[in-house]
Symmetry: C2
Subunit: 365 residues, 2 copies
């Protein structure tokens, strides 16, 4: 906030203007670009600022597809809707698509993946970490296996920034060409995100015009949000070890409490982000549980916020082979920097009472 405030209050210059107000704004954006690049070990010229993760994912998929002859694209079956929907749109304009299956732990099945690679996809997208389960994919290995095909490989890293060490240079070496990041998932403001991209990849802009962001994303830069994203990315990268170890401890405490109450934790044994737990209680509807917990002051979700309007059960759990009657019970808890041991205990207690009531049993005190 301290870094953003001047750009909201008095420094309202357009970064493309050549007068002093404009030059100051340009410098602030240049610095933010360096910060974001440094946080993921990329070169500043590889960072394209956008308005959000959804835009970055759309930009890569549609922008790359527009530079290629339609062919095969493949994405994991558990991608965020802002990957899956663009794929649907591209299918209507001549592209074929495959959805890479995942196993019960939510990880892309390597045999199926190898089979898809034999069909020479031109575009591939597999997320670094899933937004519902927190499951982390071995993107480096997947990209590496695809290198021989010449496919352009993208990864949605929205959930990973600030939670996993991200090294774009190393990922790029294994064949990852583009990476989506989002500011507000790492303590930054809404409204700023990035597509980090290997400059050998050709993209057609989604938003064309004044030629901002190397011609790949036109529009007056959102200076305050970009500045906030830069600082947040830097802080997140600095704190990642400490943050992760703190989150891991909270998560372990939380999940042992959950297990003791009889919850099923989805992908509980898979490599996961330290802040995400997706679980269900047999016979209890997720929506109902979320509503009851909300009234007690606990903000949790029954799935992805991005598809809360959608009453269908989670496509991620379906892809993992979870039965619909269990998936209907799914509740997601995302822990943050502010959460404490005491809150975990309060939450587990509230859950015990609520679940007990909902199961029509006397709560065990």
């Amino acid at each position: 906030m301290a870094a953003m405030l001047p750009w909201l209050e008095s420094q309202y210059g357009n970064a493309s203007s050549r007068h002093e107000y404009g030059r100051r704004a340009r410098q602030a954006i240049d610095e933010a670009r360096q910060r974001v690049a440094a946080a993921v070990n990329a070169h500043p010229t590889e960072v394209i600022f956008t308005s959000g993760g959804s835009e970055s994912n759309n930009l890569f998929l549609k922008g790359a597809a527009a530079c290629l002859k339609p062919g095969l694209m493949a994405v994991s079956a558990i991608e965020h809707p802002c990957v899956l929907k663009p794929v649907e749109q591209l299918r209507r304009s001549g592209w074929d698509a495959r959805y890479l299956p995942v196993d019960g732990a939510g990880r892309v099945k390597t045999d199926d993946y190898a089979g898809v690679l034999l069909d020479r996809p031109k575009l591939l997208s597999v997320m670094l970490a899933n937004n519902e389960t927190g499951v982390v994919q071995d993107v480096a290995a997947l990209a590496n296996a695809a290198m021989v095909t010449g496919a352009w490989f993208h990864s949605d890293g929205v959930q990973a920034l600030g939670k996993l060490d991200i090294d774009f240079r190393a990922l790029n070496g294994t064949g990852v060409h583009a990476l989506t990041l989002s500011g507000h998932k790492a303590g930054g403001p809404k409204g700023a995100a990035a597509l980090v991209i290997d400059k050998r990849i050709e993209l057609q802009p989604l938003i064309s015009g004044g030629g901002h962001e190397r011609g790949l994303r036109s529009g007056t830069e959102n200076v305050p949000a970009i500045v906030g994203f830069g600082v947040a990315a830097e802080l997140a990268a600095q704190r990642i070890a400490e943050h992760s170890s703190r989150m891991r401890k909270l998560q372990a405490k939380f999940e042992s409490g959950l297990s003791a109450l009889g919850a099923r934790i989805f992908a509980g044994d898979a490599p996961r982000l330290a802040n995400t737990t997706f679980f269900a209680f047999a016979g209890i509807d997720g929506e109902t549980l979320v509503g009851k917990l909300d009234r007690e002051g606990f903000a949790v979700a029954s799935g992805a916020a991005c598809s809360s309007a959608n009453p269908e059960s989670s496509h991620v759990l379906r892809a993992m082979g979870v039965a619909p009657e269990i998936a209907r019970g799914a509740v997601r808890v995302s822990l943050g920097d502010g959460n404490t041991d005491a809150e975990i205990e309060q939450f587990i207690n509230a859950l015990q009472v609520t679940v007990g009531r909902l199961q029509g049993l006397t709560a065990v005190s």
Copy 2:
């Protein structure tokens, strides 16, 4: 700022989440939508929030084109690059395009326009007011003339919000189907804008995903910026009469000073916004003049900020038939709420000295 701060500081809920933090954010967005709609006499459900004017213009042009069989589109020759560039992209995918010529006063030539309408364009876009000259088009008359063709008519109103009375209901009655607005042009923050659209118009989203904004613009909503846009639009609409009359007086004073110094004011006699003056001095390079004035503390532009990277002379002036050697001298001054009579006098004095020096003459004191 006061309206935005809570959403930046503590109310960080995702507006699609169903818990209390989410519901509060949703309510804030709903209220902002009502404010923006009321400011331009539209229905809230006609307002699609985007990240900026460039996105709104791209969304309309590409989104509508994707729902139609390729045919003819026509836009004025003086549109902003974020209209002209999408048109170029669409030409590469099968569309034909015409660029409506303007007269010396920067207004679309009605005869040529009538001729284009005979060729049955499917998409039309003419801006409400130009970003370089401030010239206002008679969009209602142009749209009305196009109604018989069944074309979808869009207008870029980015420069007009807060400066002209905008009545979307009335414009829609004359055949305007969509209107682009931008928050930061009306005292709001960067990062929030809108496409106001007649719901009978079909659009394919540029950014697809979670289905936000009636499926036309996915992505976690930028709550603080949208809230700020709402309040700014409301204030701008309330203050428009007072603001315009104050700006008109400043503009008259400024332009009489300019004329006395021998400046040529582009489209000086055309209906123009009260805050924009585009002018040139014979034999003086615009860039040079802007640089000298900047060093004296005056933030002015040699053209549109959006194309400051572009060393070519203004495409707007070229379309108006201004000779390149004169267009090269163009300087744009945009007055704002904060400007005073005294500043106009200081600026005219600075200009007199600087222009005198640049012309190699002794400054007349």
